[in-house]
Symmetry: C2
Subunit: 505 residues, 2 copies
Amino acid sequence: MTKAGGKQEQHRQDQGKQDKKAQQYGVTPQSVDFNDWYNEVVKKADLADNSPVAGAMVVKPYGSALWENIVRWLDTRFKATGHESLIFPTLIPMGFITKEADHVEGFAPELFTVSKIGTEELSEPYVLRPTSETIIGHMWAGWLNSYRDLPFLHYQWGSVFRAELRTKAFLRTSEFYWHEGHTAHADEAEARAEVRQQLDLYHEFCRNVLALPVVRGEKTASERFAGAVATYSIEGMMRDGKALQSGTSHYLGQNFSRAFDVKFQTREQREEYAHTTSWAISSRIIGAIIMTHGDDFGLIMPPNIAPIQVVVIPVGRKDNFDEMVAEGERLAAELRAQGLSVRVDKRDGVTNGFKYNDWELKGVPVRIELGPRDLEAGVVVVKNRNSEEKETLAREEAVSGMRARLDGIQAWLLERATSFMLDNTVTVDTYQEFQAAIEAGKWVRAFHCGDPESEKQIKDDTKATIRNIPLDDAEFFAEREEGGVCVHTGKPAAYGKRVIFGRQY
Amino acid sequence: MTKAGGKQEQHRQDQGKQDKKAQQYGVTPQSVDFNDWYNEVVKKADLADNSPVAGAMVVKPYGSALWENIVRWLDTRFKATGHESLIFPTLIPMGFITKEADHVEGFAPELFTVSKIGTEELSEPYVLRPTSETIIGHMWAGWLNSYRDLPFLHYQWGSVFRAELRTKAFLRTSEFYWHEGHTAHADEAEARAEVRQQLDLYHEFCRNVLALPVVRGEKTASERFAGAVATYSIEGMMRDGKALQSGTSHYLGQNFSRAFDVKFQTREQREEYAHTTSWAISSRIIGAIIMTHGDDFGLIMPPNIAPIQVVVIPVGRKDNFDEMVAEGERLAAELRAQGLSVRVDKRDGVTNGFKYNDWELKGVPVRIELGPRDLEAGVVVVKNRNSEEKETLAREEAVSGMRARLDGIQAWLLERATSFMLDNTVTVDTYQEFQAAIEAGKWVRAFHCGDPESEKQIKDDTKATIRNIPLDDAEFFAEREEGGVCVHTGKPAAYGKRVIFGRQY
């Protein structure tokens, strides 16, 4: 048997072991049906459940704890950069939505309409906000007088509502959760700097906290936010090769400020419309965490955002279980003193094997098993979620090394996801190669002529769209290349570089 | 001039000074029109603004920061007592609301109805949640199997919607903000203990954090939450003598679990309906802070919840303003190192007098003025919001003593509010006295027979209702008194004690 054959065999054995475990555990393997895998993991890991409201989910405690961690990190950074939170109404007068022409065209098919309050039929209905540019523009018009009042650096956390026919928890729900940032500036340069600052913050958050390698770039005109002058996004690759737009930042020019009369007196006593921006990350990002890091055993939570970073499992018999639980709590207290989030699994009606599987499915980064003989020997058994191997370590060593261990898992996740994205992105120059690569579930780097009609045809052919045009200083795929020709039309390439095509969520 | 006359004169002079300041600042004095005072303070202190949506407000940055502090304190305590957050949909199928008979009767006139999504008219409409017992009951039915699953200790933060004809920021808005706690238990005793635990938590929060003396008690049947077996409340007295219900905790018995089939197998293998509770504090509590502590100069924020605890005002001329700002930042950094929230007012387009008034209006507990001569002398000028007096202190002394100073202001606020409540509560035994006291804007302690018809007549006569029946271990008005007769009907008294009557917000 050659060395390569040996590796293949090993891989096959590993795979068999995985399949068996997955079957036993009851999650469909990713390779069998990625969609089923996703839905089962969401439900069995207790992230979310279906609801009796069309298109809406219920976020369960484990999913809510994850979302709260996301909110806390971002909120702290928004405040640190001078942004202020506000709370605007959930309802928006229908007439507001129709004021910005592109905006109404973009959102009309997705709106929830409120036409009755108590027993009173409303002559002018309200909609549940699909986003809040309009009502915020309206309020700003009343608050803004002079250049001295600017910038407005505002954001709010809350729900938004956009009808969805095919629901999928976190990815496509008719009610979802987000922050929406809204800022107003005296000039274009400052507004564009804000747009970029927030895009970069999202990139930092995804990379360093969620271990998601994402590509920063600009959207083409046909993929822009309804009403924007320029839309920037971060795009991540899921383990089925599809792209997930994970955050957006928009330069709105003076479109909304003209529609809502958001003007001010300049230092030179002229009257001028404000330049506005908006930006958002939503609960979709939880879908990105699941689909970037998960495997056939379930979730893998990046340690820097995990609701539970370490789970301690007291392994006892009936006669010493309480004692082992107490020991587990002592161990947990030492870990918590380092600022770690630790859970002790005290359930007594289920087997140890069930517990192990349950926490693997929930993706807790590190598991510690603590049995009576371990206790006597002064050791614990430690297992990282991303490894098959169990380690027996001196108790103190396990405690003192926990932070570094978690950092190691965090780095491993980012590296694996980065390799996966790079390995599954191909550079092509012919439409035949293009179609084959998209069909194979890859991202494609190709030249495009910039014609929206061509983008539409490519989408009709292949279901792929231009995810974005990577920025010149994006971490990935940033290279400028002059003189290319469009992979679809053969016309001269736009943008001065290849763009990223892919199918998307 | 006698001593009493001297005091009176002093009071008159003080009053004149206050009136002048209030006029200059532009807030109507409380004694002239409490309602105008409230609305002006809310707007001028930048807590909230009116919105273009009927009955809804916009919460501005200062109000939002206050609400975030409230959320953070309560959320930490909910989690510390084992409660888990979830996120339920904002929409509820109309059919759910009608399942619990009392519930629909209570909420029907206030519902917002969604009858169209996109272009599709819905055969079964949704309502915007007025509260979430129904949809949570529905979900619980799917999650609950065995007594081992209990208790469910759930809560969520979010908006709720109840139509309001006459809007008043924080107090009566058609959309408001709250947490709603929902728990399910295997038996009545455990459920009732939860109801009491949360009521006591609310009491602790109001007393120790918001400096609001509140009376814990049970509501009479006619004032119960729609669908509850027992409703408990905390009631506070505003500076116009009216009561504000500041938090509620309900024992729902098996009413909602029967309506939504929330049942489980007991340890003895019987099938049983869960005993459920719900509890809430809403954004109304901000109204209580404003109306309990505010004076003719504006808000007074209790230091333990204040978004800004100390404001530093650099007092410079054109040529040294930047230097004084830098000194102010240095001072602020020392205070922040103690965990205090400090703002340096760097605005250069406004006078010092304007700044002083502005921060007094916003109720910042302590102001520090820092001028060039102070700097040379190593002193600062310190003024507490609740005093007319300015103190010149050594810089180090001002810094090292700041926490104690804030604690002193906190204690002073609670003491003042407590005295005010006790001074404005009268104990009466005749209906004539009762009517006179209510008319004079007091709370009344009186016996009542327990007949809902009599409660209704009293309300029609005087606009006063029974705020609550103080608990036997309530901090205030807890005394049991046997043998009383009803102040209204002359029948034997119910409850074994006097109850609290008052007009209410």
